[in-house]
């Protein structure tokens, strides 16, 4: 009797777990399905002819490329230093670098304005140099780098920590200085992790919305990236917003597939 009671209890728990899992899955899948299936394809393609689309796509591509280059160029040595560094101070640096990843984008926007805005800490100095950063394409890149860099640095730190210390030490006994060991052993051995982190950071930069809106504004052709163009299109033409959204979903999906394939090889 007891055994059957336990079996029935197990069945009930499995049912309940299945129900909540199914609900969450539906919450994730249903909007995507609505996005992809909610309109005739011809209409969606026509919507892409909206004059705001091409400049926004171009700016997104260009700005995320520059952001990613900056993130990888600076983030790789930074991650190496964090991974090799010991003690409280390096842990503090690590935490600080990871923080923007969990900050609300609105907070990132306010922080960037307070640092580099016209009335921000560096504003007057930048103005004297003739560099008004806010509401320029440079501001778009800064906003994207600010929110996306932590994703790369975090992945790179983890990848560098997995590199066998024997490899690094043997390389030095073979006559390689620290810089050469970093470039010829640590980076190539950690490369799968670095690539995965770069893909994540690029996806985050491509989707950047809140901080860009606040710090760079929403000026077509200058600071209006794809997510901002979606926001603007939503007020006038739902189909254009939908088409642009599908474009971004396709980019994200391609990225996911590429990362998966890279991880397997």
């Amino acid at each position: 009797m007891e055994g059957r009671g336990a079996a029935r209890g197990d069945l009930a728990i499995r049912g309940a777990l299945g129900l909540v899992a199914g609900l969450l899955f539906a919450l994730l899948a249903f909007p995507l399905a609505a996005l992809l299936l909610g309109a005739p394809p011809g209409e969606l393609v026509r919507a892409l002819r909206d004059p705001a689309v091409l400049p926004a796509a171009g700016l997104s591509l260009a700005s995320t490329s520059v952001s990613l280059a900056l993130i990888v160029a600076g983030g790789t040595p930074l991650a190496w230093a964090i991974a090799r560094g010991a003690g409280r101070r390096w842990r503090a640096v690590e935490t600080l670098v990871e923080l923007p990843a969990v900050l609300p984008p609105a907070v990132a926007g306010v922080a960037l304005l307070l640092a580099f805005g016209r009335r921000g800490v560096l504003g007057p100095a930048l103005a004297r140099l003739g560099l008004g950063l806010p509401f320029t394409s440079a501001a778009v890149v800064m906003a994207q780098s600010f929110v996306a860099a932590p994703f790369y640095v975090q992945a790179a730190v983890a990848a560098f920590r997995r590199v066998d210390p024997d490899l690094l030490f043997v390389a030095r006994t073979l006559g390689a200085g620290r810089a050469r060991v970093f470039l010829t052993v640590a980076v190539p051995v950690a490369r799968p992790g670095l690539t995965g982190g770069a893909a994540l950071a690029w996806a985050r930069a491509l989707g950047e919305f809140g901080a860009t809106l606040m710090f760079a504004g929403n000026m077509p052709g200058r600071t209006q990236t794809l997510p901002l163009a979606i926001y603007t299109a939503l007020e006038s033409d739902l189909r254009t917003a939908q088409s642009l959204s599908i474009l971004l979903v396709a980019a994200a999906f391609a990225l996911l597939v590429a990362v998966r394939a890279g991880r397997r090889s």
Binding site: D164, L167, V170, R172, G175, A176, G177, T184, V189
Partner: protein
């Protein structure tokens, strides 16, 4: 004075590791139980760990001298190091692994790398990746890589421990014969008395960081100083 002269003391966690020896014509064979500080002793000599006091001298040139504040960086010590699991670079093929430590123009580097592989009788493996090699092959490639950098001393950390029993005997004979041919000052860490016999060197037994006995295997067998030594040399 030729050879590798070591007299140092270092703090490894809570343990003090203290060793003194001169490796020249005959190898130094470092033995001892797990955690006795054998690998740490090698790292202290190679520069991977910094001794608290003492000196390391190679062919009369000081590499480390705590008193004089001298600490030559690892990459300029010309001491070859073979870690337990060989640490071949996974992203490079065998030839480029061996070429890594050769300071010469590109063509010359590859030529000398092939020479080193031939010396270890593994030239057929040049195009392979480390993950495709057996344990015995890895060991020879790692030795070729260390040798190709033209070291003036060699430190081998349990060079045979990762091998199957079936290839260990053959590899042991090969290693002992090569080391004699190169006549480089050499320190070999091992668990295995058979290694010490084949290498025919001066045995240093390390326990809890300190040398408890030294001499030939026969001398140790005659008057073992600790239970560990008597088990090591016993019948």
């Amino acid at each position: 004075m030729t050879g590798l002269e070591v007299d140092l003391e270092g703090a490894i966690g809570a343990m003090r590791v203290q060793v003194a020896f001169r490796a020249a014509e005959r190898p130094i064979v470092l033995m001892g139980p797990n955690g006795a500080g054998k690998t740490s002793a090698l790292l202290l000599v190679a520069g991977g760990l910094r001794p608290a006091r003492g000196r390391v001298t190679l062919d009369g040139t000081a590499l480390f001298d705590a008193g004089a504040g001298l600490d030559v960086p690892v990459e300029r010590r010309a001491i070859g190091f073979l870690p337990q699991r060989y640490a071949l670079f996974p992203h490079l093929d065998v030839l480029r692994n061996v070429a890594y430590g050769i300071a010469a123009p590109a063509g010359e580097r590859l030529r000398r790398a092939r020479e080193a592989l031939a010396e270890l009788e593994v030239d057929a493996l040049a195009a392979r990746r480390p993950r495709e090699l057996s344990g015995g092959e890895m060991q020879r490639v790692a030795l070729a890589r260390a040798l190709a950098a033209r070291p003036r001393a060699l430190l081998l950390d349990e060079p045979l421990a990762a091998l199957d029993a079936s290839v260990r005997r053959e590899t042991r004979r090969f290693l002992a014969q090569r080391l004699r041919a190169w006549s480089l000052p050499t320190v070999v860490v091992t668990h295995d008395r058979a290694d010490a016999e084949a290498l025919d060197g001066e045995v240093l037994v390390l326990e809890a960081g300190a040398v408890v006995q030294r001499g030939t295997l026969q001398a140790l067998a005659g008057a073992p100083a600790t239970p560990f030594v008597s088990e090591l040399v016993g019948p």
